[in-house]
């Protein structure tokens, strides 16, 4: 137990270091060896964090998805891991300075959650592959939406810098507006099908467990539908109606607020199927 805790501690340390380096490089004038350490320290953090999650899986005998704390760990890990993958493919300057701190915030939230397993979270159901896939896909969708929000935040930040004519320093290290807009769209186009698949698997599971696919009294399910509709609206506005600019970035930010509500807030609103210990 203490070994896994110290692994987590090291992972957190590496995450913090990496976040500080990514953020400070926004203000950097020159490339320094220290700043080049941002990515490697993130790799170390991701590796250690994965080790921690694996240890937890081995201890519990199933994927660590039964408590809010555990899912936060998984979401944080997917956010940063997805960031690394995206960074390698699309090279979105400055995204790390938003994505890594966001992952850290997700980890920080675990402090406010208890480790006790939720009372309604049925053990047998949790170990079923269907439910595991449902949770993992939804969490991966959340992670992609979070990165999409990061890109939208970059857009809004860059827009503000350009409007207020602050063009030295940070602005140079952030991607052009157009690139931020495209990155956000791509990330949502990655997240949307994953999230949709996760929701559909949840419905399938509900059908087998309770005989119906959807329950309006369940806040998480209702909010998930709202989330899905909002992202569908974003994709429609962006791709078909040809929306561009600040408005789409603001819409994405609103979408993200709903994601956070769906993910973390819904539990507070009652319901019984998605209750984890909060």
């Amino acid at each position: 137990m203490s070994a896994t805790i110290s692994i987590l501690g090291l992972a957190l340390l590496a995450y913090c270091l990496s976040a500080v380096l990514y953020i400070s490089s926004l203000w950097a004038k020159k490339e320094t060896p220290l700043r080049r350490a941002a990515a490697p320290s993130l790799y170390v953090a991701i590796g250690l964090h994965l080790l921690y999650l694996a240890a937890r899986t081995a201890q519990a005998g199933h994927l660590p998805l039964s408590t809010a704390r555990e899912t936060l760990h998984v979401v944080a890990w997917i956010i940063v891991a997805m960031y690394v993958a995206v960074e390698r493919r699309w090279r979105i300057a400055g995204l790390g300075a938003f994505a890594v701190p966001l992952g850290l915030i997700a980890l920080a939230l675990t402090v406010f959650t208890s480790t006790a397993a939720g009372k309604a979270a049925d053990w047998k159901v949790l170990t079923s592959p269907l439910l595991g896939a449902h949770i993992l896909l939804v969490l991966a969708g959340y992670a992609a939406f979070s990165l999409g929000f990061c890109a939208a935040a970059i857009y809004i930040f860059q827009d503000w810098l350009l409007k207020s004519k602050r063009l030295r320093g940070v602005s140079r290290h952030l991607p052009p507006l157009q690139a931020a807009d495209e990155a956000a769209y791509r990330l949502i186009m990655v997240g949307f099908p994953i999230f949709t698949a996760g929701v559909v698997l949840g419905m399938v599971g509900a059908h087998f467990s309770w005989g119906h696919v959807f329950d309006w009294r369940e806040p998480k399910e209702t909010l998930s539908v709202v989330t899905w509709l909002l992202y569908a609206a974003y994709i429609h506005a962006r791709a078909i109606a040809g929306w561009k600019g600040r408005r789409t970035a603001l819409l994405l930010s609103a979408c993200f607020v709903v994601v956070v509500l769906t993910y973390l807030g819904a539990g507070l609103l009652g319901g019984h199927r998605h209750i984890f210990a909060a």
């Binding site: 350009l162 030295r168 157009q178 690139a179 600019g245 600040r246």
Partner: protein, 423 residues
């Protein structure tokens, strides 16, 4: 010999005055030739860029007023109004100013590179017109040297941006890759042309030019490989271009908020970059408040540039040290040149004696072989040179120490050199 200058630049005169003072290349040559034909100054160089028009001259007496009249007579400026924007410098001040200009510290965009080429060009044109002699040659070669030193020895030019560079950087912050971007130019000013050329260099392809004078629009469009469009179709083009550069001389706003708002609706809010380098401004500042419209006027660009300049403040101080050092060196050279007429007269008198003696002994010298005769002539010349060497260095030093006029008087008296002999 004095060096002096009269001119206006972006620090002393508004764009409206600078515009009228500036010279096109052909008018510049014509002006220089006319100035030289008046024979009031001995040498002159005219530097005319979009930020400055400065006339440098060398003459035995300082003639600021005459130069100012000359500059103002070449254009339709109201002399009463314009004269307040002209600055006059002489001797060391002029050197310091020219050296600062060449180093780029006097530019609107501190450290920019273009000015060095413009200084060189101004000098070359003056040489072509027969307006630049020894003094201007020494002065401008020194200025170019200072400009190079400033850029080599300090970091004044590191990351320096001209307005064109600024525009490119802004455009890249909005659009990223500029290839295929559509640029619209309003008005056919020089700055707009340079800015558009910078954007075109980065791949911006479709360039449209609208100007009230359609002919000039066509000229500019041709130079940029673009297309001239009618002023009335502006509204249509606003819907489809990405970058607008405006530099008309209109006294009122050419682009109003309503027009732009309508265009933005048609564009479905696709971002648009507007660069207004006109003074007075062409684009209503309210336009910049619209979403997805990024409006920059000349002061905003100046502020962008100023932020850069602030970062290079320390470098500017280093440049100032170089400028002071070089000006000091040049002043010494110039002061020592005061000895030149007396020394030339002295040499002339020595050489006259040499020629007379050779002529006097011509018959006997004919007996010498050509080789021996050459040797003899060389010997006499060497003796003359050696005799001249000490008085030359002493007199030059005398002018540096302020004892020059006295030493010169003595020299002329002792050797019987008449004052008017060298004139």
């Amino acid at each position: 010999m004095h060096i002096f200058a009269v001119g206006a630049n972006h620090k002393t005169a508004p764009l409206s005055v600078r515009e009228k003072l500036s010279f096109t290349p052909s008018r510049l040559q014509e002006a220089l030739r006319e100035l030289m034909s008046r024979r009031k100054v001995q040498e002159a160089v005219l530097l005319s860029t979009c930020n400055r028009t400065e006339l440098y001259a060398a003459a035995p007496t300082v003639q600021h007023e005459d130069l100012a009249h000359f500059l103002l007579s070449r254009n339709d400026l109201d002399p009463e109004e314009a004269v307040g924007h002209l600055t006059c410098t002489q001797d060391k001040e002029t050197l310091l100013h020219l050296f600062r200009v060449a180093s780029g510290v006097d530019s609107m965009v501190v450290g920019e590179q273009q000015i060095l080429g413009q200084v060189r060009e101004a000098y070359e044109v003056a040489v072509d017109c027969g307006a630049a002699g020894h003094v201007m040659a020494a002065l401008f070669q020194r200025a170019l040297h200072v400009g190079k030193r400033a850029r080599w020895e300090t970091e004044i030019s590191r990351g320096a941006f001209s307005v064109g560079h600024c525009a490119v950087e802004l455009a890249e912050s909005v659009f990223g890759d500029l290839s295929g971007r559509r640029v619209l130019i309003l008005g056919a000013g020089e700055m707009a042309k340079v800015t558009a050329a910078h954007l075109a260099e980065k791949g911006a392809r479709a360039v449209f030019v609208a100007n009230r004078n359609h002919e000039r629009a066509q000229q500019l469009a041709q130079q940029l490989g673009g297309e001239a469009i009618g002023y009335e179709s502006l509204g249509e083009f606003l819907k489809s271009v990405d970058i607008l550069i405006s530099s008309t001389s209109a006294p009122h706003h050419v682009l109003k908020r309503e027009d732009m708002a309508a265009a933005m609706r048609a564009r479905r809010a696709a971002p648009m970059l507007l660069i207004d380098i006109a003074v007075p401004r062409d684009i209503d500042p309210q336009v910049g408040k619209l979403d997805n419209v990024y409006l920059y006027d000349i002061d905003d660009l100046g502020a962008v540039v100023a932020a850069d300049a602030a970062a290079r403040q320390a470098e500017a101080q280093k440049v100032e040290r170089i400028v002071q050092e070089e000006a000091e060196g040049f002043m010494r050279w110039l002061r020592s040149r005061a000895a030149v007429p007396a020394l030339a007269a002295l040499r002339e008198s020595f050489e006259r004696v040499m020629r007379q003696e050779l002529a006097h002994h011509e018959k006997r010298l004919q007996r010498l072989s050509p080789h021996d005769r050459q040797l003899l002539e060389r010997m006499i010349a060497a003796v003359v040179n050696k005799l001249l060497h000490t008085p030359t260095t002493r007199l030059k030093k005398g002018f540096l120490d302020g004892k020059g006029p006295e030493a010169e008087r003595l020299l002329r008296e002792l050797f019987g050199l008449e004052q008017d002999e060298e004139k």
